[in-house]
Point group: C2
Chain length 344, copies 2
């Protein structure tokens, strides 16, 4: 059974180990922290902590190192989340304020978060289902390939290429037909909610003759796909920090880099993390469903875009990281981002 003081010892071990990367022994603790008891007593507490799987010794007669479970305990019950310094707040504010388009703001934000935490930072592109269609543009790239561009009033621009069915020798649509189609589509769609696009387009399609109708249906499919596609991307920054913290990955950083390249998996993981009451979620080491990330921790926070939808922003790094500081940074950045995007 771990005593009250035992938890304080755990906190000390985590802090010391995170700071020094050295397994920490009982003597170090009595020297560096004022517990008012002897090393032998600390040793008893440490034995209890080890019993409970909160710390482990790399080998007999070495200092202790926190386990994933130990970090979990630290994060849930022991870490006081430090407030950001005013200097840091200022940095965030000035960094984000030079507004530009959405992609740009996200790119800046994530770069800043990576600098703040010295870890890899990631942000999920927000979904904006409440926004309205501003314009749809069709561009014929070749007789059989059509570029569809969708512009919404939230400032998002998405594009998609559709392959046109090409039954006979002659192309299905020529420039004139396309111009008419464009006018019609814009006629019914401009001003509509994004969510209503598929239905509206469907009813338009029904008024058309068969060959033209197929084209319209494909365009409709592209437009709906375009909305979903976008949220399937992550913007990230600070990959170089992985090399900086390389010594904290006992294996190699290879699987981590692979996971980052394989955005899809990482994104799903990121999205499924559920925020706690502090607005941040932490996934530590082997808690993580991806084997390649068994030695990394992921922090995720949520931010709210103008349409009120929540997307994720967070950092990824070795399990040996400064949880207090990083949680604070993620939270602060997420808040500023919400504020910034809400203003628009």
């Amino acid at each position: 059974m771990v005593s009250e003081r035992g938890l304080d010892v755990l906190r000390a071990i985590v802090q010391d180990y995170v700071a020094s990367r050295e397994p920490v022994g009982s003597k170090t603790i009595v020297d560096r922290y004022s517990f008012g008891v002897s090393a032998a007593t600390i040793r008893n507490d440490m034995a209890a902590l080890e019993e409970d799987g909160l710390i482990a010794a790399p080998h007999t007669s070495s200092g202790r190192v926190p386990t994933d479970k130990g970090y979990r305990m630290f994060v849930d019950h022991l870490a006081e989340v430090r407030a950001m310094t005013t200097a840091q707040r200022m940095a965030i504010r000035t960094f984000l304020e030079e507004g530009a388009d959405l992609d740009d703001v996200l790119a800046r934000t994530v770069r800043m978060l990576s600098q703040l935490t010295n870890q890899v930072a990631l942000v999920q592109i927000p979904v904006v289902p409440r926004s309205y269609v501003r314009h749809v543009e069709l561009v014929l790239l070749s007789p059989s390939r059509l570029l569809v561009v969708l512009i919404t009033d939230a400032g998002r621009v998405d594009q998609k290429v559709v392959e046109l069915p090409q039954g006979d020798d002659q192309p299905l649509v020529d420039d004139v037909a396309l111009a008419e189609l464009r006018a019609r589509i814009n006629g019914v769609l401009v001003g509509r909610l994004l969510a209503d696009v598929p239905a509206t387009l469907q009813s338009l399609a029904e008024t058309l003759p068969a060959p033209r109708r197929t084209v319209l249906e494909r365009i409709g499919a592209a437009l709906s796909a375009t909305v979903d596609d976008r949220q399937d991307r992550l913007i990230l920054a600070g990959t170089a920090n992985l090399a900086r913290t390389e010594r904290d990955f006992p294996g190699s950083i290879l699987p981590v880099l692979e996971a980052i390249e394989e955005q899809v998996v990482l994104l799903r993981l990121f999205r499924e993390m559920e925020l706690d009451e502090r607005g941040v979620s932490v996934s530590i080491g082997r808690e993580n469903p991806l084997v390649g990330l068994a030695e990394t921790s992921i922090l995720a926070g949520g931010y709210r875009s103008s349409a009120g939808e929540v997307a994720r922003i967070g950092v990824l790094g070795p399990t040996r990281m400064d949880y207090s500081g990083n949680i604070a940074a993620v939270r602060a950045v997420a808040r500023y981002l919400s504020k910034l995007l809400g203003e628009e």
Copy 2:
């Protein structure tokens, strides 16, 4: 003075070292390659090669390793560029054929190139000055922020946000004014060459009264900037390969990752490399102007987009790499890409 056979020895050393990562000695060479002379003779040749700075010994009495200069000699005079296997050709073809929009094609291409070479692959987004304006869309994001979207007939969509001057309390443009502006701009721009956009817009601006004019000038600036901006980006893939070849970076992969993140510098370097008669350019180790890349080599090839402009595609990896194979891969992929984009 390096003899004829000396160069053959150099070739053998490079090939062997690239294959085995072991410094190669005279005995290895006579064993593995059929020179028909004794080890002592090879030793003499090696002494000459060392004299000329083409190879070096990590320490006294060890085998030799190619220097940057040695690799250079190998690449320029000794490497026969292997043709791609038919399997590889097939892979390239099928991989690239599922066309989509430009960004998508480039993303696929670069991913494939990284798999083909086991290195980091990069591609520069092509400039398309010969293409025509298809549509310009203006979206008011907030009273003082305007999103400008430019669609060209080459299938490119670019966006930019402009800050509007906001002199008095009331906004400079409202929805009605914007609609009129949009109509006017499209009226003069649609169908124009991209290169003519600034001039055309300028003459339109001159017909307008002062406040409206400022707005138009800003939009014009954004449109020209948008064209330049885009080519200032690289799409890359295969970063994980850096971790795989980590042992080939005597120092650390940190500076390499940093250079990759700092796209701007890398891009300039990439752009300034001049292609040789084989259509590929190679920059080896310290030849490289960036200190962080002193242990990496960069291969660059050119591809031609529909408008006939040339952009770069290439790979980046440790100086100890398979130059023959990688040059062949870059060249093959660049050709297919030119063909693919030319067709559209």
